[in-house]
């Protein structure tokens, strides 16, 4: 029996995948290459990671990146939860308008609202720096978070909250004891997504960082402009690992959500016994 040739669609998809992932592989490979001139692979070393790790500028910018990520994630989550709860009770018309505004923050070019914020902050005499970047990132991060939280809320029946109120919980207690615990998986997924986006963001950071704040993404861009060194590759690989880690955690949570992560772990423990 003759083996059939692979289908054209598989060949095409395979080729595209290779083209897409080659650059990433190149970054990883050259981050562990002994030679500094990025010509051919001359031997394995972790030297460039050590160089990057001991570079005070890299360390400082990494801290800035973490600050920005934490700030924009927390603020975006607060906005998203409020927005999600509000849209549940909103009229269909208000809901349509609100959703339009949310999606527009994702669809509109980041460079446009980064520019807008630059002008606005300058007119209002707001200092550029970490907080300016945080607010800039909140513009798009809060939109992603809102969509995730809304999706989760839509899957929850309002009956659970009615039951809590019926059992004597006031609005705040209903939120604290029922709504929020049920939102936790969505909150975690949204947070991890936003941290990745924040680390990845160059445009807002570049526009609004001023001279005082420089996240690692901006540093990387500056370094590349001069010369692509193995150190840049090492930083890039490091960032990629951070992103991969957060995304796979987010993915794991999504997979475990139907049963609840806690319950899953409990089952695992029981099975181990």
């Amino acid at each position: 029996m003759r083996r059939r040739l692979p289908r054209p669609t598989s060949v095409f998809t395979g080729a595209v995948m290779i083209c897409l992932y080659l650059p990433i592989i190149a970054v990883v490979v050259y981050s562990v290459d002994k030679s500094a001139d990025l010509i051919g692979f001359t031997g394995f070393t972790t030297h460039w990671y050590s160089v990057a790790f001991h570079d005070p500028q890299v360390r400082q910018d990494l801290v800035t990146s973490l600050e920005v990520a934490a700030g924009s994630t927390v603020i975006s989550l607060a906005i998203a939860i409020c927005a999600g709860l509000w849209t549940r009770g909103a009229s269909p018309r208000a809901r349509r308008i609100f959703d339009g505004l949310t999606y527009s923050r994702i669809v509109l070019p980041e460079i446009v609202f980064a520019l807008g914020l630059l002008i606005l902050f300058s007119k209002l005499h707001v200092a550029y720096g970490v907080w300016a970047i945080i607010f800039g990132q909140v513009v798009f991060n809060s939109a992603y978070a809102t969509i995730i939280i809304q999706a989760r809320l839509a899957s929850l029946s309002g009956t659970l909250e009615e039951a809590a109120a019926d059992l004597g919980a006031n609005r705040w207690r209903v939120f604290r004891r029922v709504t929020f615990p049920l939102l936790v998986p969505a909150v975690l997924v949204a947070a991890l997504l936003m941290i990745s986006f924040s680390f990845d963001d160059v445009i807002v950071a570049q526009f609004l960082g001023g001279s005082s704040a420089e996240p690692i993404s901006v540093l990387l861009l500056g370094m590349i402009r001069l010369h692509v060194t193995p150190e840049v590759n090492a930083i890039g690989t490091g960032l990629m690992l951070i992103t991969l880690l957060t995304f796979s955690t987010a993915g794991l949570i999504t997979v475990l959500r139907p049963t609840g992560a806690g319950q899953f772990l409990a089952l695992g423990r029981r099975a181990a016994k």
Binding site: L160, E162, A163, A165, D166, L167, G168, N170
Partner: protein, 387 residues
């Protein structure tokens, strides 16, 4: 072990109110409109202390909306709600002395069975020792001891339903509202839980307000039932009253498939007895809804179970009809028949009754005291048939 049944004294807790005078629940001209739609249209009811009260009717009749207004989950458009003599119309749900058992149980999936039942106690800042004791009592009452560490998703539908019940009862509410609590269960489990619910209601002595679309279930459990239609109460009374003396054709049809013979009132005897003339049957005398006028187009209700295959004699009326189909209902057989005038008629006979054959014509009759005359209302009957 105590010899007496483990009756739970629901008013024994510290700080529980002394039983208030008057009805447990009073609804005064209660209404709820959604735009043009009158979901509930001016309801007046008094529900007694300790009563098992049911609201039944087809979907959209306003029974659930009424229940949700008592719970405080839907705001009335007009009218007043009193619980134990206190006006609660403007109180938010979490401040009302009533609790609800929801149709889909609405158990908190992230909490254990114990914490689900303890939820309301924790809101009331009840001491840890008392929480343990009261939740323990409830687990016993609903037969779920040993399940307290599990999650709701690990329980069967019937067990979840009992958790929902325990979660409400543990708070010792003055009134318990139940919104089709057995609606999601299969028939066998429903029957079991009906018995359990009835037993628990007797033990705790709390007023139950029960909503269902299943008239059999309501009749089985309730002291009184309200049959609702289009946001109004069509009839209110004991199950026996409603079944034997329906006020309208809608009620007659809703509370059990009945034969409705078109008739005309010929003569009145007192307030509620009439001489009527029915197609194919002739003139006969029967009791009925008070206040029908001579010449009024009416309807004689004859239940399938009172008809038997025997010729007309003293105190009976009847006609002849041909069997078109038979349906076996276990110990009974439902006979679908057709009168010479082409009208359908149904009769239920016992299994051991002399055999009835499809295609044969029989002389049928029924006792006049089992006939009930009421005003004709074609639309009402059709509305009830659709259910």
């Amino acid at each position: 072990m105590s010899d007496a049944s483990p009756a739970i004294d629901v008013h024994a807790g510290a700080g529980s109110p002394t039983p208030a005078p008057g009805p447990a629940v009073r609804l005064v001209d209660l209404s709820r409109f959604y735009g043009e739609v009158r979901a509930v249209d001016g309801i007046d009811v008094e529900i007694g202390d300790g009563e098992f009260f049911s609201m039944i009717g087809p979907s959209g009749c306003g029974k659930t909306t009424t229940l949700r207004m008592i719970a405080g989950l839907v705001e009335p458009s007009a009218g007043r709600i009193e619980v134990s003599g206190r006006d609660v119309t403007r109180l938010r749900a979490h401040r009302r002395p009533v609790n609800t058992v929801f149709q889909q149980y609405a158990l908190f999936p992230h909490l254990s069975i114990f914490e689900n039942i303890a939820f309301g106690l924790r809101e009331r800042r009840v001491s840890r020792a008392e929480v343990n004791q009261r939740v323990g009592e409830m687990l016993e009452l609903v037969d779920l001891v040993g399940r307290e560490k599990q999650r709701p998703s690990q329980l069967s539908g019937g067990q979840q339903q009992r958790v929902a019940l325990a979660r409400s009862l543990v708070l010792r509410p003055e009134v318990l509202l139940l919104d089709e609590p057995l609606g999601a269960l299969d028939l066998k489990l429903r029957k079991q839980l009906q018995l359990q619910l009835k037993r628990i209601q007797r033990e705790v002595g709390i007023t139950f307000v029960y909503v269902t679309h299943d008239q059999e279930e309501a009749f089985f459990m309730s002291d009184r039932v309200a049959i609702m239609r289009d946001g109004r109460i069509e009839q209110l009374g004991s199950p026996r009253d409603v079944y034997q003396r329906p006020a309208t054709e809608f009620v007659a049809e809703f509370v059990g498939a009945s034969n409705r013979l078109e008739s005309t009132v010929v003569e009145r005897h007192g307030d509620d007895e009439y001489e009527v003339e029915a197609d194919g049957v002739g003139r006969f005398r029967a009791r009925g809804v008070p206040g029908l006028a001579v010449g009024q187009s009416s309807c004689a209700i004859v239940r399938p179970e009172v008809i038997s295959a025997e010729p007309v004699s003293e105190g009976r009326a009847g006609l002849s009809a041909t069997v078109t189909d038979l349906a076996y209902l276990g110990h009974q057989i439902s006979c679908l028949m057709e009168t010479p005038g082409g009208r359908p008629l149904s009769m239920t006979v016992h299994q051991h009754h002399s055999p009835v054959e499809v295609g044969s014509t029989y002389e049928l009759s029924w006792p006049l005291r089992s006939v009930w005359v009421l005003a004709r209302d074609e639309a009402g009957a059709r509305a009830a048939e659709k259910v």
